[in-house]
Symmetry: C2
Subunit: 336 residues, 2 copies
DNA sequence: TTGATGTACGCAACCGATTACTGCAAATGG
DNA sequence: CCATTTGCAGTAATCGGTTGCGTACATCAA
């Protein structure tokens, strides 16, 4: 009773195991009545085919691996929802892994996935500019990868990104339009590609308005909130910017905390705009101006592309960048 | 080259497959040198034992299923982090499933898990007061379940909860202390146990201070933000409470939006306190008073209990309620 | 020298499903 | 009426590891 399997069923019903298997897999080679009898009996005995056995045979796990730097983050949480939505429709499940932005964790998980634990991978990378060859192993095993938001340029794969350069340019220009002369750029890891692209938008907007780019105004932060508080406090006290363009939501929050403590008035003394997927940005004090990425849509797009690859509908999947547009919401924090 | 497996390795190294298997599983029956030679060769050829084959044999998937109503939610996202932290240490991975508070989805996923896809389950239930016997099937298969936050009373299992009654009592009393006479209780699903417990705290606090409980002040909301906006607006306009105790974070946000639009001043006209895991609650306008559950710790505690059950360290695992305490943060929204 | 103990490894059955191949009866066609 | 196709089901090999059992050889004590 404990270990019910296809053989037990077969004996019980006086039918071969192959017929039972066919009942579960929509095979045309089975009589309708037989099939119903089997399924009814199976339901009654709470039986479903063991997935490990099935997967061992046909090498399909019906599972997607999702790799993200963080989970407790509005952007990624919404993106995961988007992925899940599509996966669910396809009858797939999600294996979730968080890298904490640590390259080694990413590598170890990818290596683990080499064994067919998942049929495909959707990831937002930790971003370190290391050797990315470990990802190439996946190709050998025919496990497709789709990147979203944070991608590796040197790996050929479908990529879902936003118009970061443009948004950054526009956001910076917006700050300039409101009168800012000394705009700081907040970033967590200057060296990763997404930080670079956003910074370029910032730099080019400055250039357009003949504001010299000063290296000192690029504030490179960490993943530790306490350390960031110190960095931001020092920057606001010593460099005294009149505008902040934050490439990361958390750093905008850090800025708010520091301003509260230092008595800096946003937006009077300092205008702030930030990349953020926080849906209660209007409720902040003051309401935060945001560049909001279509997180949910990015997730569902990434999943859709992955399924196209898995199902190989077309001849070839477009292993290119798919750009979804962010929206800029001007609110009080930048004088809106 | 494509399909490397234990047999190919065996032939290549002129060693039996059993020895190779032993090299990977910390068996004592293997020579150190042999083991190293095998592991080195395997590494070189990018080989790891196939999980589906292993699992098929020993019925262990090294995977935990995590079932939550929502993902893009501060509480659950943090709890998932807590679960992940422990799981990672044990070398386990996480299969994530979102129920959207829909009972049927919960049931279908649980049924799917019946087949050894996961070794154990951590869940926060959708909460509908239906027949929960589908969970009993898991016992037959020896798949342990740990509940957290939202539990089914009628299922025997380890449960990680917070002191909701007490917190609710204290929060309500706090509102009374600040002078509120007409406190509304916001809830999403009045009938589920967690909503009940919190309401009881609210009711008893009123009673203690001789404030009559009025049914009209229990505002039953939905999962749809737009509908909630309407419900809350109507409530604030018609019933005109002077205090809000929200059992769900989202509803506090909804209240803020409605107050913004109606020109109701928080905390002057209306004092608000809410269950919430939002870590930027101090940055809201005004700073939101919160009852904050130890989300991360609840997750890690739940995972720890599950592993105790899986490893059967003790004779018997405590299938009882484990209560972690929430913290109340009084901020400006309730006159703090 | 002999029997006991331990180490390291191989053999082969096994986990539970899938499916190519085969077989048989009934249906269909000319 | 015979040949061919079709529908349905069974046999057995297979997916890729794991492990109980058996054994060869080394070591050691008496």
């Amino acid at each position: 009773m404990d270990n019910i399997n296809i053989k037990v069923l077969a004996k019980e019903l006086n039918i071969s195991t192959s017929t039972i298997s066919r009942a579960f897999n929509g095979s045309p080679d089975i009589n309708k009545d037989t099939k119903e009898k089997i399924l009814a009996f199976a339901r009654e005995h709470n039986f479903l085919p063991n997935h490990y056995a099935s997967n061992l045979r046909d090498k399909k796990s019906r599972t997607l691996a999702v790799i993200v730097p963080e989970i407790a983050n509005d952007f990624f949480a919404q993106a995961i929802n988007g992925i899940e939505e599509i996966a669910r429709k396809k009858g797939f499940y999600i294996l979730l892994y968080r890298t904490d932005d640590v390259f080694d964790k990413e590598v170890s998980f990818i290596n683990y996935l080499n064994n067919g634990k998942a049929d495909g991978i959707i990831m937002s990378v930790s971003g370190e500019a290391n050797d990315h060859n470990y990802l190439r192993k996946l190709e050998q095993k025919n496990i497709p990868v789709v990147f979203f938001d944070r991608v590796y340029e040197d790996i050929e794969a479908a990529k879902v990104i936003t118009n970061d350069y443009e948004s950054s340019f526009d956001a910076t220009e917006h700050l300039i339009d409101t009168g800012c002369k000394k705009i700081a750029y907040l970033v967590v890891n200057k060296s990763i590609s997404i930080g670079q692209v956003r910074m370029q938008g910032y730099i080019d907007a400055l250039k357009k308005h003949d504001i010299p780019f000063v290296d000192e105004l690029v504030i490179d932060c960490s993943n530790d909130e306490k350390i960031n508080y110190g960095i931001l406090k020092k920057a606001l006290e010593e460099i005294k910017p009149d505008g902040i363009f934050s490439s990361v939501e958390r750093l905008a929050f850090g800025t708010y905390y520091v301003c509260n403590d230092l008595g800096i008035d946003i937006p009077r003394d300092l205008k702030v705009i930030s990349f953020s997927s926080l849906n209660i940005a209007p409720l902040l004090c003051p309401a935060l101006s945001t560049i909001t990425q279509p997180a949910f849509e990015m997730g569902s797009k990434a999943a859709t592309l992955l399924f196209e690859e898995l199902e190989k509908k077309g001849v070839n999947i477009q292993k290119k960048e798919h750009v979804l547009k962010s929206k800029i919401f001007i609110r009080k924090s930048s004088g809106g």
